[in-house]
Symmetry: C2
Subunit: 537 residues, 2 copies
């Protein structure tokens, strides 16, 4: 019966002759009104189409497929999500998440066309990388340019990252990637033969040496225009801590004015658009939890090259809860940094330091700013470990100056600090950048976390202390954080305080306190642990 | 001035003694009301948090970070998106995209807790793969299980895919991946020693041989319970075409009933939940545009193993616009299929066929169903290429029967077809599955695309013809598609029709016609092209 029905369809060999008129797409079918969808998709362009949109059916668009959106002469690529709710987009609209909307730069209601699009052209290089080929500088240039222009979806970035991790990328390629990332954004130029810089690979709470090294080096006369990041996963970055004292979100022009006046600055690098491909890749790399030496090196050095640095001192802390946990890792990382730095023409020196515990006492922007200012004021209460480490690093930076005799940097740095010239320089920098909006002198909520037993402090977990400080509200609430009373090797009795938690808001306070009471991050033993004498500092 | 202010903060060594009461998290701070957000994120769990949500600030959640959502004893993982619009979620709510909402299985307004979560545990194996290690069967089992449970984000899946492509995965690993994917879903059992199956790797429009092979094989007495997919990127899958004639969305129980009655079925495999990890991975693999033999083999064979097949005939079409473009590729693919098939205990034979043009005349569900029924009816107008290819493949399947002498399958298949037993078997299958809802006998809109010059057809672009049929509305509109008048080698005069486009809706019709008029997919030359005699069929 059914089969008979099927047979009735005639085979249309003899049919009407073809129309040959050129057809243009009907406006109603081909155009959609754009609408902003207030979802922050970070650096991925996302578009939203209603399931009942005629175009969705006609074009066979799939969820997650890539589309090109065109209006006048603007074109962007976006990943498509399918929506079943007219309140988000209606069937004649195309929703654009915040990033995509901003990048297209049109008013809501503007008519746009959408079409299927292929992956960005540089994905062809990513496919070659996946197949085990070595990529050239040009390949990396095309990839990082497409990433910067938001042409890559997160999924495409993940494929690139996975293919260029540890075993997949050699040191020549790391160099090419570094150079390509440098070229994705702006570059600062200082017109001097020696532009000093200092960087720590991170992971050690309270390690705010930069805010001491910069004024010391500048007081000596070195040019040291320092751009820093805000904290991403830590309780405070240098930019957060400096923001307690001064404005840090300077434009590149303002930054130049400050540096002209003081030979230094301590600003947030975000406005300078240095190596933006790096920031985008990091946003995908971090959730993957994949550590890659190659990506780390390219990330750090591309920012430094873009910032115009010629001489860089790099601090790699090693310790059981640091980013680098073993000496051999630190040494292999140092070799890679040296190789890439040498090839890209930046004078680079690496210091391997003790990363077994936080540096200084305060953890969180205001507490760390207090530590820094205590050191600059030569306050006898200033944390000595912060002071010593900063002097060591500042000394090494001073030795970039050809007129400073090798080995004399430390003493020179100490003279600059003790004479008050470093403090004076810091005050000049603060004045030139513009003072910060004053904050309350202390946080309203605080609690001391005490030792559960007698003994010596044998271990401090950097990661756990950092997490407690973050839960307490750092870096967003400047006064929030952790203030340490004891350090490795100190003797302590049961009930004596290990550290204080400070917070602005009750919910944050409860979260941080709860975490500290579950695991306070300190280990207490009968004997002090052996010292780690193989480290430089 | 500012520096002085900083100095005023006292160093709190002598402070109030610590509180020791255990703190529980306040309900207001720790719980959020869930709300369904009608966005289809396919197999990725996505959650939406308002930027002003207290938890967002306190926990330092990042856009794209992974969170664990907990309510009673249900826990799911999701990727976080940040929202700035109270109409999507308000600050005391947690939005869940459709998949995540369904997986959590709670009413709207239910209170949930969210917490940071680590990547799924099997990401540790993905990291090892990225570092160049070989993975074990257990590694692949953990990965595919986590993927099936929606614990992987798209980004994590992309990292896995990129790390296990071509150069990254050896044939032993392909075998382990195949076995692991098989185990992620249900498995069908038929309790017979010979369960026949037939599969084509795809890419050739109109290639509907399965609907002929199955009734011929079943009429001979073989057990051939066929599960097929719907079209994903093609104008019709076997399930779409069969749905013109019969119900195809059978439950596994209904499928067993049909097979008990007729020794065969032609159903959509989606209800049987065969190797679901495969479907999820494909959704990420396709937008990446990365072809991987390993993934293709694991994808096809895991579905067959899960479907309980013991004997599989595999069709690999080769041609300039087919999935496999060169003979050496087809041969290497055949070796890999044979290796994995043998190791996993499925009797597998590979046929390399001519993929240089579409098979049959109709492209689109109803047009292909018409071709199939013409062949079954021994209609003299039936497309001969479809008939010949189906008989060849059916003959090879019949030779799985130990009682069929090698080389006799083709003649046996032809006898079964010509005697009308294949048609009778198809009618029995249609009756057992339940007839389809009747559709209109033809599409309301159609146009013939004509030859722009005299000559011979020297090439037909499978991809372009498939795309035109899709734009016309196939497979969603069953009557939509392309109906070919001429094939390779045919002589044609200017103005004679090459094919007809059929559509249901004016917008689709205009899209398809416009594309065909820009590039009709046919090449016309002065001489017929040489035949490709190295192919089996």
């Amino acid at each position: 019966m059914l089969a008979t029905c099927v047979r009735m369809w005639s085979f249309p060999r003899t049919s009407t002759p073809a129309m040959t008129t050129k057809v243009t797409l009907p406006d109603s079918g081909g155009m959609l009104k754009i609408r902003r969808v207030a979802i922050d998709t970070y650096h991925e362009n996302v578009a939203f189409l209603h399931r009942n949109c005629a175009l969705y059916r006609a074009e066979g668009f799939q969820a997650l497929s890539k589309v090109e959106i065109q209006a006048n002469n603007n074109r962007i690529n976006a990943v498509l999500n399918i929506v079943d709710d007219d309140n988000i987009v209606s069937p004649d609209e195309l929703g654009l998440a915040e990033q995509a909307f901003d990048q297209l730069g049109m008013e809501e209601g503007h008519l746009v066309q959408i079409a299927h699009t292929s992956p960005p052209r540089s994905m062809e290089a990513v496919r070659r990388k996946i197949n085990g080929e070595r990529l050239t500088l040009n390949d990396f240039r095309n990839i990082t340019r497409d990433i910067t222009d938001n042409r890559y979806s997160k999924v495409e970035m993940a494929a690139f990252l996975a293919s260029s991790m540890q075993s997949g990328i050699d040191r020549e390629e790391i160099m090419s990637l570094t150079r390509a990332m440098t070229e994705t954004g702006e570059q600062l130029h200082w017109d001097e033969p020696l532009v000093a810089d200092k960087h720590c690979i991170g992971g050690i709470p309270g390690n705010r040496t930069t805010m001491l090294v910069v004024p010391i080096a500048a007081a000596h006369g070195l040019l040291i225009p320092k751009t820093s990041s805000r904290a991403i996963t830590s309780p405070a970055g240098t930019a957060d801590t400096m923001s307690v004292l001064a404005r840090v979100d300077l434009t590149p022009e303002e930054m130049h004015t400050v540096v002209d006046r003081t030979r230094a600055c301590l600003v947030w690098g975000g406005n300078a658009r240095l190596a933006p491909a790096d920031d985008i890749l990091i946003s995908v790399e971090r959730p993957l939890g994949i550590d890659s030496e190659g990506q780390m090196i390219a990330s750090i050095l591309s920012k430094k090259l873009a910032a115009g640095s010629t001489h860089l001192l790099l601090d790699i802390p090693v310790g059981p809860t640091a980013k680098v946990r073993h000496m051999n890792q630190a040494l292999s990382l140092r070799k890679l940094f040296e190789f890439v730095g040498d090839r890209l023409g930046i004078h680079l020196e690496v210091v391997i330091s003790d990363g077994s515990q936080p540096i200084g006492r305060g953890i969180g922007p205001a507490l760390e700013a207090r530590d820094v200012m205590q050191v600059l004021h030569n306050d006898p209460d200033a944390p000595d470990d912060l002071r010593q480490k900063a002097l060591y690093l500042a000394g090494r930076v001073l030795e970039f100056d050809p007129d400073v005799r090798g080995g004399q940097g430390f003493h020179l740095a100490r003279d600059i600090l003790e004479s008050g010239r470093a403090l004076k320089k810091m005050q000049d920098i603060i004045k030139a950048q513009g003072p910060a909006t004053p904050i309350a002198p202390t946080a309203p909520l605080n609690i001391d976390i005490t030792a559960p037993e007698d003994g010596y402090i044998t271990a401090i977990n950097n990661y756990q202390i950092g997490r407690i400080a973050r839960l307490a509200g750092a870096p967003m609430d400047l006064n929030a954080g952790v203030d340490l009373y004891v350090k490795l090797g100190d003797k302590i009795s049961q009930g004596e305080p290990l550290y204080r938690i400070q917070a602005e808001f009750p919910a944050d306070f409860a979260f941080a306190r709860d975490l500290a009471e579950r695991d306070n991050g300190f280990r207490i033993g009968a004997q002090p642990a052996a010292s780690r004498s193989y480290l430089e500092i």
